[in-house]
């Protein structure tokens, strides 16, 4: 039964290669997008960290994005 499922009446190579290709490409795109996002989050949080205490306070108060990224980065480290 499993061999029937894999061979798909002789079309297995075509069907499995199509599905594998699709999900492999999707996985790579997901991995790369996530990696870029994490890289930007890290760089952004580091840049906030490097600001003076007063500047940091202003940035974190003014920008929801900055405070979100900064707090989540600090949670991960």
């Amino acid at each position: 039964m499993i061999s029937d499922f894999i061979s798909m009446n002789g079309y297995g190579a075509f069907v499995w290669s199509s599905f594998t290709f699709t999900f492999f490409v999707c996985a790579i795109i997901y991995y790369r997008t996530r990696k870029t996002l994490k890289k930007y989050e890290k760089e952004f949080a580091k840049e906030i960290e490097e600001l003076s205490t007063e500047q940091k306070k202003i940035v974190l108060e003014k920008s929801k994005v900055a405070s979100k990224v900064f707090s989540s980065y600090n949670k991960t480290i």
Binding site: Y11, S18, I29, L37, Y40, K64
Partner: protein, 236 residues
């Protein structure tokens, strides 16, 4: 109302949506794969090779829909100068290119058992290759042109010109004699596909749309951070 659409609020919503999609995605994927590979019947003519349709057709739909979206938003941005539209088009383009390439490759694999060849320069395939080239031009224009306003203008022009290709792809099977069959699924009118195949097809489409939304949200989030990062330099 306009305040709701500022980047800070959008950013918070994006985080919530990403978490939601992550929580449902694998259940949806498992269900779609089960229907596509196990529960759906083989075609009376094509046999089990018809299962390739479950990745090929949704990928082509997403490729076409993404470009239409990019082109319309680019035109609207040209008229109304809405900055968020640029971010959206920039984030959608790589998704569209990915799915257009998936549609071309899986179509080519499907072609071998169905038509006896991996490749034929028929109208539908050629116009899909042209669509992929338009996507590439949009992405490359953003990568190569450092001046943002100029890059946006050029990519908008490319998108607007490329919009002409969308009806060509859609109606290529009717206008020219091609290897592709006419559309089996019609929004207006009766579809000729059986419900036992339509259901897995729509389920797989849902999975790939949810996946596209996830990638789009992550890319959009990256763009917002990139802008905020640039703005942070004002404090130095």
């Amino acid at each position: 109302m306009l305040n709701f659409f500022n980047n800070s609020n959008i950013f918070i919503w994006i985080e919530k949506l990403i978490n939601f999609i992550n929580s449902i995605f694998f259940v949806l994927l498992l269900a779609a794969l089960s229907f596509a590979l196990i529960f759906s019947p083989p075609d009376y003519l094509q046999g089990d090779s018809v299962r390739i349709m479950y990745v090929h057709v949704p990928a082509a739909w997403i490729g076409l829909a993404s470009f239409t979206c990019i082109a319309l938003l680019s035109i609207l941005n040209f008229i109304f100068k809405i900055k968020n539209f640029v971010l959206i088009t920039k984030s959608i383009a790589p998704i569209g290119l990915t799915f257009t390439c998936i549609a071309i490759v899986t179509g080519s694999i499907w072609g071998q058992p169905t038509w006896g060849t991996f490749w034929a320069w028929d109208a539908r395939i050629t116009s899909m290759v042209i669509l992929a080239l338009f996507y590439l031009m949009i992405i490359v224009s953003h990568k190569l042109i450092s001046e943002e306003v100029k890059a946006n203008k050029i990519s908008s022009i490319i998108a607007a010109v490329g919009l002409i290709n969308i009806p060509i792809i859609k109606y290529s099977v009717e206008w020219w004699s091609t290897l592709h069959q006419p559309a089996s699924i019609k929004i207006t009118g009766t579809s000729t596909i059986h419900s036992s195949m339509l259901m897995p097809l729509l389920l797989m489409f849902l999975v790939l749309i949810v996946y596209s939304a996830l990638i789009f949200l992550m890319k959009y989030k990256t763009e917002i951070i990139r802008i905020k990062k640039k703005n942070l330099k004002r404090y130095d």
